[in-house]
Symmetry: C2
Subunit: 371 residues, 2 copies
Amino acid sequence: MDRRKFVKTAGIAGLAGTAGLITACGNQSGTADCGDGSTARSEETFEWKMVTTWPRDFPGLGTGANYLAQIIGEMSGGRLTVKVYGGGELVPPFEVFDAVQRGTAEMGHGGAYYWKGKIPASAFFSGVPFAMTASELNGWYYYGGGMELYHEIYKPFGIIAYPIGNSGTQMGGWFNKEINSVDDLKGLKMRIPGFGGEVLKRIGGTPVNIPGAELFTALQNGTIDATEWVGPMNDLAFGLFRAAKYYYYPGWHEPGTALEATINAEAFNALPADLQSIVVIACKAANMDMFAHFEARNGESLEKLLDEHAVELRPFPDDVLAELKGASLAVLEDQAAADEMSGKVWTSMKAYMEQVRPWTEIGSQYFVNRR
Amino acid sequence: MDRRKFVKTAGIAGLAGTAGLITACGNQSGTADCGDGSTARSEETFEWKMVTTWPRDFPGLGTGANYLAQIIGEMSGGRLTVKVYGGGELVPPFEVFDAVQRGTAEMGHGGAYYWKGKIPASAFFSGVPFAMTASELNGWYYYGGGMELYHEIYKPFGIIAYPIGNSGTQMGGWFNKEINSVDDLKGLKMRIPGFGGEVLKRIGGTPVNIPGAELFTALQNGTIDATEWVGPMNDLAFGLFRAAKYYYYPGWHEPGTALEATINAEAFNALPADLQSIVVIACKAANMDMFAHFEARNGESLEKLLDEHAVELRPFPDDVLAELKGASLAVLEDQAAADEMSGKVWTSMKAYMEQVRPWTEIGSQYFVNRR
């Protein structure tokens, strides 16, 4: 008997048997101990789509989506392939959540605060003004109860989400006038999503949220007066320095913004256990990878913005930051009072921050201030 | 024909065919596109050992080793299982590197600076005095050329290494007297590994390196006068507060210590491509996981040390830190001049730090100082 032919036939028989995820040793789970020291896996393959809120291949964000898809494909040996779509290719950027809910795509890649119109509490899972750095936030997600709450808010929508990257502390944004007092922010039409936008509104500005890909044009043609986007690497890539003169820091509104993968729960539950594990762990590895990417490239991009493009770098004055902080806390408390899930999440975050901040103060913060 | 029996037989035939990693569709790679839309994988299973420098299940470090083994097992669907050994169970803590080199164990879990007697440049890959925070260091590892250098230094030993965790900024250590000037460190016999120990030696102290598990006894019976270990979570777990009065910060000598997995290259190369990918990506996910673990637990452990154990928390005086910084830079430059690989690594780190630090200053550092 020709063994090559035999095992090929067996492979097809195995595949035929996978309607109920029956594996090569005949049981009903995706992965199995065959009881004879060998293991066998479902031969079923899965082809997923990932829709994103970013332009295809956009540095850090789009490439982060590519990376996540790539490692899922590699670790699964091709059993689960994920095809990535840039924003607008399959669905518009801000329809990513709906597309994943409907199952048009099995995965989405974006930011949780983009869905705050539908789920108010979602804004807590990307960036919270004057709250946590990326490192602190990851502690909350994985070891501080954040992940459980994250899963809870999306459960009614049939979606499971994981953090899959962090931009680090963002920049304060691009302006065509100097910001010397909070009055300079009044009346300003600025692209700033999530809680940051609510804070701007509270102090008299007009926040708008438009997809990243439209920012440069909107700023250049005066549709908006100012914009924040991400940080040096991404802001350089969009050429925002060509449409505004002043580049402000710090990103008080997004001190460590988590990006997210949304997953259609039904599609996830249809995977065998090993592929489910691959998806979940790939998200965690992607989280590390994207954060490292931003850390490494923001510095050189900042250097380019300053040296090659003569950008005028400015800190927000301390009294402006103090007023923004007051307005931020008021916005957060108001939302926590108005929406039950928001209240639950904000309470969890505050309890965690009360413990993590004293540690930051004598740890990394104390060190960087004296190195 | 009974399909269950048939596929079981086929599974065994597949296994029998794996001597040359022949898969269920008969080709020679570990994972394969069978050409009919299905894929198949090697049925070969691998049982690895992971030796560690930590006590079994030690919080953060030992549990980090367990986590790494666990996710490799889960993602591989049991095709690659990794059994974790605490320090001393299979080999003594400081023989982990040798054990992985010999193939006694396929993996090791420890810290790169433990091998500086054998490979001087290894000390750069864990913690470098007055250098980088965890976030900055991860940028260097994954996107700043660090990983390539890491692989280069271990290649002659048949070992591949990856960062698999970070303690964050460590604490300065436990002392039984106040440190008011550098003179107070002179003559001190202190457990402090890596470059930190070299710096202590340069200013007149006596560094020793002993495994973590022996620290409490050594400090209590006077074998050492002082010790640093990790940070609040780990120091609390060893009960070091019972053997010393003063707890100093910051950990100038280890501002963001990377832990490492060492892998026997021959064992790694024998894996099919999908399992290789699973090992590499598991290391990256474990890196994120352990760092988050330390971030989340150090705060509550610090609270316990202060509130329940009345530990006296002290900052090193600024002039002591300034002198330690001068001595640190001298030690690093001297080693870079004396050892070619160390010179190469330190040059890479310095170039990276020149770009990343201005970013930290206007990003996370500026933010935490004003939140």
